[in-house]
């Protein structure tokens, strides 16, 4: 237990801040995932064949390759690309791009693919009569989307989004390979310097379990709140 005390002697405060970092990265990734999902869901549902193919490629490729691959590609590829762009402007030094941003972007791309599928499913399960009714009433397409489809879509996708959130939360552990100090990285460092990997990885496991447990409780509350009246 001494190992977990706060202050200079223990790892308690380090692990606490690492947990906050995990939460921050997860939220950032989930938010980016929403942006990707809101871009690609209409593409997947569109009647235009080309747009459709683009949407399908995104979800199929991202869900078919390992998460680690996306992270490495963005991390190493991103550094290379940034250095290339800088060399055009005459800077030839080494550039390291921010691990938080690349990590959140990589996990965001992945969680976006899952969210896209969730949103698509939710929109498809909305009764067709509502689309027809709003058309008959002469409601414009974008108002129809914002006032009729979007609120229902969000409500219908809460249960599945909670799964996506869990996946995202667990995927953030992979960002540790790029050196961002979140739970996994911090336990790795602590395990290395105290030579007690069993203890610190168990602590990491408990922290992740706590996060998944608490977020489950929170999401269940949201679900009950938003399904009132149905």
């Amino acid at each position: 237990m001494e190992l977990l005390s706060f202050g200079d002697t223990g790892w308690g405060d380090e692990l606490f801040f690492a947990t906050l970092m995990t939460i921050a990265v997860s939220i950032a990734a989930m938010a980016m995932g929403f942006v990707f999902a809101l871009i690609f869901t209409p593409l997947k549902l569109s009647k235009n064949k080309t747009l459709n193919v683009i949407g399908n490629c995104y979800t199929t490729i991202i869900r078919g390759v390992p998460e680690l691959l996306v992270i490495y590609l963005l991390f190493f590829g991103g550094t290379g690309a940034a250095m290339y762009v800088a060399s055009i402007f005459g800077y030839n030094g080494y550039i390291e791009i921010n691990a938080f941003i690349t990590g959140a972007l990589a996990i965001g791309i992945i969680s976006g693919a899952y969210s896209t599928e969730v949103f698509r499913g939710a929109i498809l399960s909305i009764d067709k009569g509502q689309f027809e009714a709003s058309k008959v009433l002469g409601i414009k397409k974008n108002i129809q989307f914002y006032k009729i489809i979007l609120p229902q879509m969000l409500r219908l996708s809460i249960p599945n989004l909670s799964n996506v959130w869990q996946i995202t939360l667990k995927d953030t552990s992979l960002i540790s390979v790029t050196g961002l100090v979140e739970i996994m990285r911090q336990s790795y460092i602590a395990a290395g310097s105290t030579r007690d990997p069993l203890f610190f990885y168990s602590v990491a496991a408990v922290l992740y379990l706590m996060l998944t447990f608490l977020s489950m409780k929170l999401i269940n509350k949201l679900e009950i709140k938003y399904s009132k009246g149905y």
Partner: protein, 220 residues
């Protein structure tokens, strides 16, 4: 570009080995825990639930590190026969992956068991079929058929999971891609080629499952 393909394919063989062996052990573990889970004894029931909760609630990377770095820390295990197994990263990876996929498989099978129509079991009971035969001849085949689509997803998730083996020094497809990246400083070539191979394997698994579903699929 072409020159890196053979080494990546060598890695892909290791990836497939890891996948097949962990799916095999995972299926056995999953089946055992699914049966424990539908047991009416609350202690057995809770134990099985706890197992699947732990392995589904923590990242695979944590589990892998716990087994690879953590188990080696226990003096008792280091002096025992198990040391032969847990000192090898390859076996550690298989243990971690099997336990992980076992947890998900047990959930898939459990929900399949629970959605079997009560009528089938009642019919068997009224015909005087013993409990054992009801389980092996009626519940188990139906559960396996019903869980095929979800199990197919699990295989693909596990294929992606095996890429984590590369962080504990195993030269699987991902490990080879990392090596190529380090040697040539061409991240795009290395990782995109590896990605194409992963996609190709995913595609094959997807089609095999689709074929099996068509052939053995169970319509209720």
């Amino acid at each position: 570009m072409i020159s890196i393909v053979p080494s990546l394919l060598n890695g892909a063989v290791i990836t497939l080995q890891l996948l097949v062996s962990s799916m095999f052990f995972g299926l056995i573990i999953g089946l055992i825990f699914a049966i424990l889970r539908i047991n009416k004894n609350p202690i057995i029931n809770k134990f099985s639930y706890g197992y699947s909760y732990f392995f589904r609630g923590t990242p695979l990377l944590v589990q892998l590190y716990l087994i690879y770095y953590g188990l080696a820390n226990i003096e008792f295990l280091r002096n025992s026969f198990f040391w032969v197994i847990i000192k090898e990263p390859y076996w550690c990876a298989i243990i971690a992956f099997s336990l992980n996929t076992g947890a998900y498989t047990s959930e898939i099978l459990r929900s399949a068991f629970q959605t079997i129509k009560k009528g089938y079991i009642e019919a068997a009971q009224s015909l005087g079929v013993t409990k054992k035969i009801t389980f092996y001849r009626i519940q188990l085949p139906i559960a396996i058929k019903q869980s095929l689509p979800a199990y197919g997803n699990e295989i693909i998730l596990m294929l992606k999971g095996t890429s984590l083996a590369s962080v504990i020094t195993i030269m699987d497809l991902m490990g080879e891609a990392r090596k190529v990246n380090v040697l040539t400083f061409k991240p795009f070539e290395a990782f995109i080629t590896a990605g194409i191979i992963y996609l190709f394997i995913t595609f094959i698994i997807h089609n095999i499952i689709k074929y099996l579903e068509k052939k053995y699929g169970f319509q209720t």
